[in-house]
């Protein structure tokens, strides 16, 4: 066994494929396989995913994802920032669900601090998280359909997504990198016309989802490309760490929102769509049904929104109101302390899992009792789901790889971090 890491040889992905056991099954005299490189610059890899494929004619013999092109070292950066300064970094992990990342991180730190979050803030967090899920699923649907060749759907999806981004802009001032959640609550009260805008959006949304389904569900090309493609059994899904819609499409009835509720999800009524088939079509069906459920949850959160504070009562952790800061000595001191030296978090470690649009998003935060996190680790759903790519694609046609990558809905930002 090598004692230092430098002793290890680092072969390229091509060598690994050449050594793979599958390669040995091919008669060398008849060897007609070819190693094909897909990405990192490829329109249907949704970012900078590189997939090295070994193909025999049109069928895939072996496949290896090669990642790391977008590695920015966010986990390392977190260790050099105050707890509250990490929130904007979490947006940048997954640019399609910034609110979910904000929420997971805030919940983890709030658990360490043992903060009680007011119900109003919890409801608004749930509302915005479900809008984020719609936002993410709309991008997934648009790009997935575009990969398969149905270009029209993309435009319709982005029309509705635009409205969600405008709602985000209303509350956070930002369309994508929202950073709206704070440790202990929310950064500010939403503007007055926010509620009507969300209400109108939620009213028209089910109709729009039906419209997308109308464009796709009965379409013979769409069915031909999706049905019986990229099978993943429930046992394989669990063994490979697959979470979220792909897990539920394989017949495992598991949703963290229902089974291990956080942020008050236990107060909402919704169904968890599950399919037993496990192919690309099943994943499409599960996500489409999930969009209706998201509308249901968001509507409940909006209609049942309680009055009250949007931040916990913790003056040494949460920045005071601007007015208080300008008029009260004590608030000024707290403001100065939080901004210049942060706040100490009791030593300990927590893991907080949240159902993100892509699966289980988990933050593991270790504190050593200072104002900066000792270690922040993100458990990202796409990272684990990508491991199942080979199981789903092996023995299938090359064109199916594109359908499968679309169906697992990866975001490279969160895979590489």
């Amino acid at each position: 066994m090598p004692t230092s890491v430098e002793d290890l040889i680092n072969p390229g992905v091509e060598d690994v494929i050449a050594d793979s056991k599958l390669h040995g099954n091919i008669d060398p005299a008849q060897d007609q396989t070819m190693v094909l490189n897909m990405g990192p610059q490829h329109p249907s890899t949704h970012g900078v995913l590189r997939v090295v494929l070994e193909v025999d004619g049109e069928s895939v013999v072996a496949l290896a994802p090669d990642i790391g092109y977008l590695h920015t070292g966010i986990e390392k950066t977190c260790e050099a920032k105050f707890y509250q300064q990490v929130v904007p970094l979490t947006d940048r992990i997954d640019y399609l669900c910034p609110m979910t990342n904000n929420l997971t991180y805030c919940l983890a730190v709030e658990k360490l601090l043992q903060l009680e979050i007011p119900e109003r803030a919890q409801y608004l967090r749930v509302l915005l998280n479900e809008l984020t899920r719609l936002n993410s699923h709309l991008v997934w649907l648009g790009t997935h359909a575009m990969d398969i060749g149905a270009l029209t759907v993309f435009l319709y999806c982005f029309r509705e997504r635009e409205e969600i981004l405008r709602i985000f802009e209303m509350v956070a001032g930002q369309r994508m990198m929202t950073s709206y959640f704070r440790i202990g609550g929310l950064s500010m009260e939403p503007p007055i016309d926010f509620y009507d805008r969300v209400r109108n959006f939620l009213k028209i949304m089910p109709e729009k989802i039906a419209q997308y389904e109308n464009l796709l569900t009965g379409n013979p090309i769409w069915m031909g490309r999706l049905k019986n493609v990229g099978h993943l059994s429930a046992a394989d899904a669990i063994a490979l760490g697959v979470t979220g819609p792909p897990l539920r499409a394989s017949g495992v009835d598991w949703d963290l929102r229902r089974d291990m509720p956080y942020s008050g999800y236990e107060k909402f009524k919704f169904d968890v769509p599950v399919s037993q088939v496990g192919d690309v079509w099943a994943r499409y069906e599960v996500r489409m049904k999930e969009m209706y459920e998201s509308v249901k949850i968001a509507t409940q959160a909006l209609e049942g929104l309680p009055e009250g504070r949007i931040t916990a009562v913790a003056p040494k952790i949460i920045l005071p109101d601007r007015e208080q800061m300008k008029t009260q000595m004590e608030s000024l001191i707290h403001h100065f302390k939080i901004v210049t030296e942060g706040f100490a978090v009791p030593a300990g470690q927590v893991y907080q899992g949240v159902e993100s649009p892509r699966g289980e998003m988990g933050y593991y935060v270790v504190s050593d009792g200072t104002a900066k996190p000792f270690r922040v680790h993100m458990r990202n759903p796409s990272f684990a789901t990508l491991q199942a790519l080979e199981t789903m694609c092996k023995g299938r046609l090359l064109a199916d790889v594109v359908a499968v990558i679309g169906s697992i809905d990866i975001v490279l930002g969160e895979i590489d971090r």
Binding site: T3, L8, G68, K76, A239, L240, V252, E360, A384, Q387
Partner: protein
């Protein structure tokens, strides 16, 4: 929120019925229940036996493998596993301390293939070697990179 913290002796006494505690009672070197989360420390030589035991106890889903560098104290690296049970609706955290004199631990990819990428990531960013891993290569950093960025003695801006 519950603020109960139980140390090793209390965990063994009060949580003996917990499936993870029961399965690991002969292997564990430390146990702690804090913030509603159960943490069990096992010797690194026993990690494969430990994950097999929790798997048999109903913890069917491997969520995460990561590492914490406690430099300069020893044992320096705490390889951390989060394992979830779909039927019990709870998770257990296993910690295997790895000292800097021998940076190796057994791979759990035979028990859960999902650990493959995670162990590669820990190897890449911390330099902990996983024996028996099918494809232990760097995953985030370029293949010819020197050093392990998430170690505490690696500067945030990198070496100049």
């Amino acid at each position: 929120m519950s603020a109960t913290t139980l140390e090793k002796a209390e965990v063994l006494e009060q949580m003996a019925a917990n499936p993870a505690v029961a399965a690991l009672s002969s292997l564990l070197i430390d146990a702690r229940f804090a913030l509603n989360e159960l943490t069990i420390t096992v010797p690194k030589e026993q990690i494969v036996a430990a994950v097999k035991a929790v798997q048999a106890a109903g913890y069917n889903f491997m969520e995460d493998v990561t590492c914490v560098d406690w430099y300069p104290s020893e044992p320096r690296f705490h390889v951390t596993y989060h394992i979830l049970s779909h039927s019990l609706k709870e998770r257990v955290r296993l910690i295997a301390p790895v000292g800097s004199e021998d940076l190796s631990i057994d791979s759990i990819t035979d028990v859960w293939p999902a650990a493959n990428f995670y162990e590669r990531e820990v190897f890449d960013l911390f330099g902990v070697h996983f024996g028996g891993h099918p494809n232990l290569r760097r995953i985030m950093m370029p293949d010819d990179w020197k050093g392990h960025p998430l170690r505490k003695d690696y500067p945030v801006e990198g070496y100049r």
